[in-house]
Amino acid sequence: MTDTRLSVLEGTYECIARRGMAKTTVDDIAAASGVSRASIYRLFPGGRDQVLRETVGWEMERFFVRLGAELGDAVDFAEFLERALPLARRDLSDHAVLQKVLETEPDRLNALITLQQHRVIGAIAAYFLPLLVRDRDAGIVRPDVDLAQAAEYVARLSLSLISSPGRHDLADPTEVHRVVHRELLGGVLTR
């Protein structure tokens, strides 16, 4: 990503944090990012809608990069997920900008997040895949499982769990252990 593009995304994020999505104009973004209107339209031909959409996708990616750095390594994939799910749920709940916009403009934000989801699913699945490969080589993942498919499945359903836990209490370690070993990895693990 070019520095100018990044400046626009950062500026837009500041604007959204301050006044929400609906009230953020291209002029506000230009002022916050120090990039001219003309350059913004050149970089983002779809204008304001495209900038908002890409800012949401960019922040989603940053969220998971931060999470990955916080988590570090684990003995195996199951243990990694057991640590990742509660932390991700907590970080989502503590994400001030997300929670504010979810309160003021829920429909619009939910739509954008859903439509940008494939960006992070791909990245998370790519992060999971080597962990699954390592576990297969260690004999704790079934040899006949399509690991790329499994990585994507776990990425999708983990995202689903942290955004809408439903009946699952992700603050309860026993419950998290259960959902990881059963629903998420029941078809994947040998034991």
């Binding site: 499982v145 689903s160 078809g187």
Partner: protein, 192 residues
């Protein structure tokens, strides 16, 4: 003597017309007049049954949810094994959602009208509700405490793979759905 289908009651015609109109014009642009015209009744008749567009849409949606739920329960209950039931329910759900003109129009043109209700907190409530109402689809194989969580998990899988853009697997196709579900999902729901 020719068999004549019984006439469809006017309130049902009105309800059905809601989805025809949404599939054609979207939710925001559909008017009560459009719906009355599509149902072949007058505005006055429509207002005898429904207070206005919002109530009409809400009741049409509730009726549609009940119709699809009952269909999925039938699919599940008439299967031979638990695995067959899971495949049948998921494939039928994918076909209903993918073939739903009104839903597909909204996902493309007015995503906030749909997706706002399916993510985060509101999505939570939908998943739990769907899990509860779909549980009977699996009650031949699972007890009540297992059937609702299993149905909720399948609702999650369908939400992620059928409603979100760029699905990697076509769940409307029974063969690819079965291969996927048997590998990753059914083993997770089967043993207690």
């Amino acid at each position: 003597m020719a068999l004549v289908a019984p006439p469809v009651p006017v309130d049902v015609r009105i309800r059905d017309a809601v989805f025809v109109c949404i599939g054609r014009f979207g939710l925001a642009k559909t008017t009560v007049d459009d719906i009355a015209r599509e149902a072949g009744c007058s505005r006055a008749t429509l207002y005898r049954y429904f207070d206005g567009k919002a109530e009409l849409v809400e009741r049409a949606l509730a009726a549609e949810a009940t119709r699809i739920t009952n269909l999925l329960i039938d699919e599940g209950r008439s299967a031979r094994t638990f695995a067959d039931a899971v495949v049948a329910v998921v494939v039928a759900a994918a076909r209903e959602l993918r073939g739903h003109d009104a839903l597909q129009f909204l996902l493309v043109h007015e995503p906030e009208a749909i997706l706002g209700h399916l993510a985060f907190g509101p999505g939570d409530r939908v998943l739990v509700a769907v899990g509860g109402s779909l549980a009977p689809a699996f009650d031949r194989w699972l007890n009540v405490d297992q059937a609702a969580p299993a149905a909720e998990w399948l609702a999650r899988v369908v939400r992620s793979y059928v409603l979100m853009p760029h699905p990697p697997i076509d769940f409307t196709d029974p063969r690819s759905a079965r291969a996927f579900l048997e590998s990753l999902v059914i083993p997770a729901l089967d043993e207690s």
